[in-house]
């Protein structure tokens, strides 16, 4: 698993995310036996009005989730178990993480911890 932190153009980002997801799906040993995961996909979560929208998302293994902060206040995306962690995201900053293994990934904003969300990763 790996994370990307960048502020590319939207189109460039989607291309990159797709390439990364595909690479992960193809190369990661955990995915070798899971044909569903070979289909690379992306999921977008907005950080808006001090909330993750949508707060709960279900995705297939290999999906790259990209969070975009559209608030005027900075936020962060931090796994409760610290398995992934963004830096502080200012307005329009993005953070991406590719989820390769099935499981529930609860996360929160380390600046405003009442902001919580969850990524559920399971084969379709």
């Amino acid at each position: 698993m790996f994370a990307l932190l960048s502020r590319p153009t939207h189109a460039a980002w989607l291309t990159l995310a797709f390439a990364v997801s595909l690479a992960v799906a193809i190369c990661h040993p955990a995915n070798a036996t899971s044909p569903a995961a070979v289909v690379a996909s992306v999921q977008v979560v907005q950080i808006k009005n001090f909330a993750f929208v949508p707060a709960i998302v279900t995705v297939a293994p290999g999906t790259t989730v990209t969070w975009t902060n559209v608030d005027e206040d900075p936020h962060s995306v931090v796994a409760n178990d610290k398995g992934f962690r963004s830096r502080a995201l200012d307005t329009q900053d993005r953070y991406s993480f590719t989820f390769t293994k099935a499981g529930d990934y609860a996360y929160f904003c380390s600046l405003h911890p009442h902001m919580t969300g969850k990524i559920i990763v399971k084969p379709r």
Binding site: F50, E72, P74, N80, R87, F108, L111, H112, P113, H114
Partner: protein, 317 residues
């Protein structure tokens, strides 16, 4: 306010301008109980014929949420409004003994933001005591940059205490290691230290506690409170006069609970909505001409005896 504008204004104009920014509050310790007035009122009270502070008293200043680096529409230049706040503080006829900065010095914990904030605040020419806000914990080290700059003689994430003219000041940190789903957090290590710090002190010692996030629950839905503040407050209840100062919510809200009074200060950068009054607690955009009236500083005057600490909240314009 840009340079050109400030060149044009006179003292009266400057005062009006500062009123809008509302960035400071003056606390007067009087007999150990703090009460506040706006800085404008404090300045007014010292005009010819007004009663002067009694001999033996001292005052200090609270500045909060300067958010140096913030440049969004709610206030495109947070440095300028901080400068106005400091300029307003310099107009006080009696120089405060020191400044308490109740956090969010910077907007994104960048070295340049801290450095600029320090340069601007140092213009006041008096010592400054800090506590961090959550915006000061955003470096890679999660607060190491703050501690490198302000953490000398502090413990843990930056807590400490000191005494001044018989008043015991306690600086608490409730923005470190925040927990999922929670609010502000002090943590067991800091609470244990607080118990030791207060133990053995006479119940008649006036106490001033300052922290970034409110130590009472102003509005849980927006995280405006501190999860384990009850434990801290239980240690403070035996004292006859406890004044708790905070920032974080960018507006003046006060509450009294027995001998404990809570005072939330304005920001020098931008206002935030009243609890629940908007979809989120994000920066509140107001008309340019209204902004200075919603920013400010606070002064406190302490007078030996049985009177409360007098707090004065002053808008920037």
């Amino acid at each position: 306010m840009d340079e050109r504008t400030s060149d044009r204004i006179d003292r009266r104009g400057m005062l009006q301008c500062m009123g809008w920014a509302g960035t400071g509050a003056l606390y007067m310790m009087s007999g150990g109980i703090a009460s506040s007035v706006t800085l404008d009122a404090a300045l007014a009270a010292t005009r010819p014929g007004a009663r002067l502070a009694p001999v033996g008293s001292f005052s200090f200043l609270q500045i909060s949420d300067s958010h140096v680096g913030f440049d969004k529409p709610a206030n495109p230049d947070a440095r300028a409004t901080l400068r106005e706040a400091v300029a307003k503080a310099k107009l006080l006829p009696v120089k405060p003994s020191f400044i308490l900065h109740t956090g969010d010095i910077s907007h994104l914990s960048k070295d340049a933001e801290f450095a600029d904030a320090d340069a601007i605040i140092s213009e006041a020419g008096i010592p400054v005591f800090h506590v961090p806000g959550e915006h000061d914990m955003l470096d890679e080290g999660g607060g190491k940059a703050y501690l490198a700059r302000y953490g000398k003689d502090t413990l843990g994430a930056g807590w400490y205490s000191f005494d001044h003219d018989g008043v015991h000041f306690v600086a608490l940190v409730n923005v470190a290691n925040l927990q999922p789903g929670g609010m502000g957090h002090l943590g067991d290590e800091q609470l244990t230290w607080l118990a030791k710090d207060l133990a053995g002190r006479s119940a008649s010692t006036p106490i001033v506690v300052f922290a970034h996030i409110p130590l009472w629950t102003v509005y849980a839905d927006w995280g405006w409170g501190t999860d384990d503040s009850t434990q801290a407050l239980s240690l403070l209840r035996r004292f006859g006069s406890v004044t708790i100062l905070n920032g974080h919510i960018h507006q003046i809200i006060q509450k009294v609970e027995g001998n404990i009074s809570f005072h939330s200060a304005r920001s020098t950068a931008y206002p935030q909505p009243a609890p629940g009054a908007a979809a989120s607690p994000g920066p509140l955009r107001v008309a340019t001409e209204s902004l200075h009236g919603m920013l400010g500083i606070r002064t406190a005057t302490v007078v030996p005896g049985r009177e409360p600490i007098a707090l004065i909240d002053a808008a920037l314009g």
